[in-house]
């Protein structure tokens, strides 16, 4: 562990996304499995002996993908395809695509055709979360994923090993939850950008090392209960563009909650580590705030969101909608209306790596920050 800046290991990974995957490959000649973040259980890939690494296509500049997929596709899918086509995913040996929407489904088709030498698996996540059969189906899907990953690494599926991976990831999630609370109590030290670096790097690192690095963070820094930062509730798919966290820090904002797919949402449920690990993973997944592409009772979807916002005591809400993401765009007007009815300020940011301007984003956030009525 470094004796200097305890945040440096995380920042290094932000700056060089593949640093840890490369090390793993060089030292162990192992299998690196990439995945598109929403709700892929990394511990299954880890237990197979592979190195799981999250791919965020959203912030990638797109140059080659449009020859293969129409321009009216979200940045996350198009960016992932572009990363593959431009050789930036050469380090991965295989890819897991979670079936969370029509675009991820189609990405799976395209990936198989364009990258026949890089195996991929479409993880068929059930969408009808309130139907009791969804749990059973999810469990069988997790088992199938484990067998597939073990087929790549050459290891035999071993429930004990999966249970060990689950314990490691639960420890990591517990510490990430604690980090989020620390951000809430000391937002001027544990800034949005630093907090983000923990979450992003976790899915790009060996979790044991990540856990050790996290232990060295300034957990004992004093609480700042009189912070004049504006606490906002963030909802969306991914943190796109990545500059968003820096702008929030600059404008005096912190997070009351982060409901992005791979943000605090992904770790906020404490899972069990005894019993059948597949069942434990399914129960944890089903208890997690549903991703926008899933189906729950429609009115409950909006009311549940509103309740969470109120409970968070956020000053306002930012909805991060990737352009061309149909699931999010159908939900947004009713979310906005519900917030308006409660006089909760909100801002819808439609983001896309292809038509993105940092200056414009900052301008909109400045106006929103002013609306929140606190001093900058």
């Amino acid at each position: 562990m470094t004796s200097g800046d305890p945040w440096k290991p995380f920042q290094d990974i932000i700056n060089d996304q593949w640093q840890e995957a490369r090390r793993f490959k060089e030292s162990a000649a192992g299998v690196v499995i990439g995945h598109l973040a929403p709700d892929v259980p990394e511990e299954i890939l880890h237990a197979s002996g592979a190195f799981p690494v999250s791919i965020e296509g959203a912030s990638s500049a797109v140059s080659m993908a449009q020859a293969h997929i129409p321009g009216y596709t979200c940045s996350h899918v198009m960016g992932t395809l572009d990363l593959g086509l431009s050789g930036k995913l050469d380090i991965i040996d295989a890819l897991v695509i979670p079936y969370v929407c029509d675009s991820t489904r189609n990405l799976s088709h395209l990936w198989k055709r364009l990258f026949p030498d890089k195996p991929s698996e479409l993880l068929r996540l059930p969408k009808r979360l309130e139907f009791e059969g969804a749990r059973d189906y999810l469990i069988t899907e997790y088992r199938r994923l484990y067998e597939w990953a073990c087929g790549l690494t050459g290891n035999l599926p071993d429930t004990e090993r999966l249970a060990e991976s689950l314990k490691l990831y639960e420890k990591s999630r517990a510490l990430l939850r604690r980090a989020f609370l620390k951000h809430r109590s000391s937002p001027d030290v544990w800034t949005v950008t630093l907090l983000r670096s923990l979450f992003v790097s976790a899915s790009r690192s060996d979790r044991s090392k990540h856990l050790e690095w996290m232990k060295a963070l300034p957990w004992d820094c004093p609480e700042n209960t009189e912070s004049d930062l504006a606490a906002v509730y963030l909802k969306g798919k991914v943190w796109d563009p990545p500059q968003l966290s820096g702008i929030m820090d600059e404008l005096g904002m912190c997070l009351a909650e982060d409901e992005t797919a791979a943000g605090h949402r992904a770790v906020m449920v404490e899972g069990v580590t005894n019993g059948d690990p597949f069942e434990a993973l399914a129960d944890r997944s089903l208890a997690t705030i549903p991703y926008t592409g899933y189906h729950v009772e429609p009115t409950g979807l909006v009311n549940g969101f509103l309740e969470r916002v109120k409970k968070s005591q956020a000053s306002g809400v930012i909805l991060l909608n990737p352009k061309f993401c149909e699931a999010a765009a159908f939900d947004t007007p009713d979310f906005v209306n519900a917030l308006k009815n409660e006089s909760i300020p909100n801002l819808v940011l439609e983001t896309s790596a292809r038509s993105f301007s940092v200056g414009q984003l900052k301008l909109r956030l400045e106006a929103f920050r002013e609306m929140l009525g606190m001093e900058m």
Binding site: S108, K127, R128, F131, D136, P333
Partner: protein, 398 residues
């Protein structure tokens, strides 16, 4: 060309259907919003009335009302990038503009996602708007189309659950005799529809895809009824007579083309004339073929629906390409027109690779035209015509 007389009945059939839909509640029938790939035969057997918001949206598009009502949906906060069927439906409700006097309010919303995920989210909006309960039949996508026994159990369990919930909602038991009769009528209509599509294999073709799009209405919204069976029986008789008399759909048929994806509803007439004038006949389409596979057995319909939803309508890449290759052979195609439809990402996001794969196998060229099924603001018809003209030029030059 001499128009197909049977198609004139569509207006009457449509009017009667929407009249019955609006009268349903007075006739003690519960109104169920649904999509085509749901077991509507169950609804009839419980004396419920199926209503199809997609169908309504298509009529809005065909009547060239999409731009006006879409704008109303956009005013509600719905992005212009969303499916224009959804925007037309929601905007029509908001603006109170509809060629069918709107749709009756639903007592239940039923949707399957084997068609796309968009429908689920659109129908969720309707569920909130009308405070109506909603049931999703969740159909996993098996990627390469391989059998997924666990998914079969999952989907079938939902159909069993659906039947129980419908019985609970109506307070009556499913009428077995009526259920079987409705299934029989659905199967008959689907078989007739298939025969009608196969007539397009004749050279010259007695019917084009444009006519099939118009003829779709009873298949979509009235399968399971005698009305659909009678309509398609009459249509086939007429087409066979026309064929025997040497009447073709397109004068001097030179090019036999395939249409991919949904129609561009506002341009049906214009594109039909444009292609016809150039001797180009659209003889087949993936979209019209979708309705040909709706028959299920009377003995175990739940298992048949399960397999249809999982493997037939779930549009896997390889089976889609194989299907196009078969159609190219059966219909003696000269070219493929691929509609890259901004409103239907589900079908369109693969299209560049589908085209490449089909041409690799068949050697038959294809052109991709980007447009929208309803929203005239999303394309220029002149540009589409130019692209098609260039493509026909290419075919002419060999």
């Amino acid at each position: 060309m001499e128009p197909i007389k049977s198609l004139k009945q569509i207006k009457k059939v449509t009017t009667e259907y929407f009249t019955a839909a609006h009268m349903a509640r007075q006739n003690n029938k519960k109104v169920v919003y649904c999509n085509v790939f749901t077991p509507v035969e169950m609804l009839y057997a419980l004396d419920m009335f199926p209503v199809y918001p997609e169908n309504h949206a298509a009529i809005v598009g065909a009547r060239k009302m999409a731009a006006e009502v879409s704008a109303a949906a956009e005013g509600m906060g719905y992005s212009m990038d969303l499916c224009s069927y959804a925007r037309c439906d929601l905007g029509s409700i908001k603006a109170g503009i509809s060629p069918t006097w709107g749709l009756p309010k639903p007592d239940l919303i039923l949707v399957s996602n084997c068609q796309c995920g968009t429908l689920t989210k659109w129908f969720e909006v309707l569920g909130r708007m009308y405070s109506a309960p909603m049931i999703l039949i969740d159909v996993p996508h098996s990627d390469d189309g391989a059998a997924d026994i666990e998914a079969e159990k999952y989907v079938r369990a939902q159909l069993v659950d659906l039947m129980g919930r419908l019985e609970e909602m109506t307070g009556r038991k499913l009428d077995e005799a009526m259920f079987k009769e409705t299934i029989r009528l659905s199967g008959e209509a689907s078989d007739l529809w298939t025969r009608m599509l196969e007539l397009g294999m004749k050279r010259p073709a007695p019917i084009t895809v444009f006519d099939q799009f118009i003829a779709m209405f009873p298949m979509v919204s009235q399968r399971g009824t005698q009305i659909a069976v009678d309509f398609y029986s009459g249509l086939i008789d007429e087409l066979e007579e026309r064929s025997a008399a040497g009447i073709s759909a397109v004068k001097n048929e030179k090019y036999r083309l395939f249409w991919d994806n949904l129609p561009i509803w506002p341009e049906l007439g214009r594109l039909s004339t444009f292609l016809g004038d150039r001797g180009a006949a659209l003889v087949t389409s993936i979209y019209t073929w979708a309705w040909s596979k709706l028959a299920v057995s009377q003995d175990d319909p739940l298992t048949d629906w399960t397999k249809q939803y999982l493997y037939t309508f779930n549009l896997h890449f390889k089976s889609r390409v194989d299907n196009y290759v078969d159609l190219a052979r059966n219909y003696q195609l000269d070219g493929f027109l691929y509609h890259s439809n901004r409103s239907c990402k589900w079908i369109s996001q693969d299209v560049q690779e589908v085209r490449a794969a089909v041409t690799e196998i068949t050697g038959i060229p294809g052109v991709i035209i980007e447009a929208d099924q309803n929203d005239t603001r999303q394309y220029s018809v002149e540009t589409l015509e130019k692209q098609i003209d260039n493509f026909l030029d290419m075919l002419r030059k060999g």
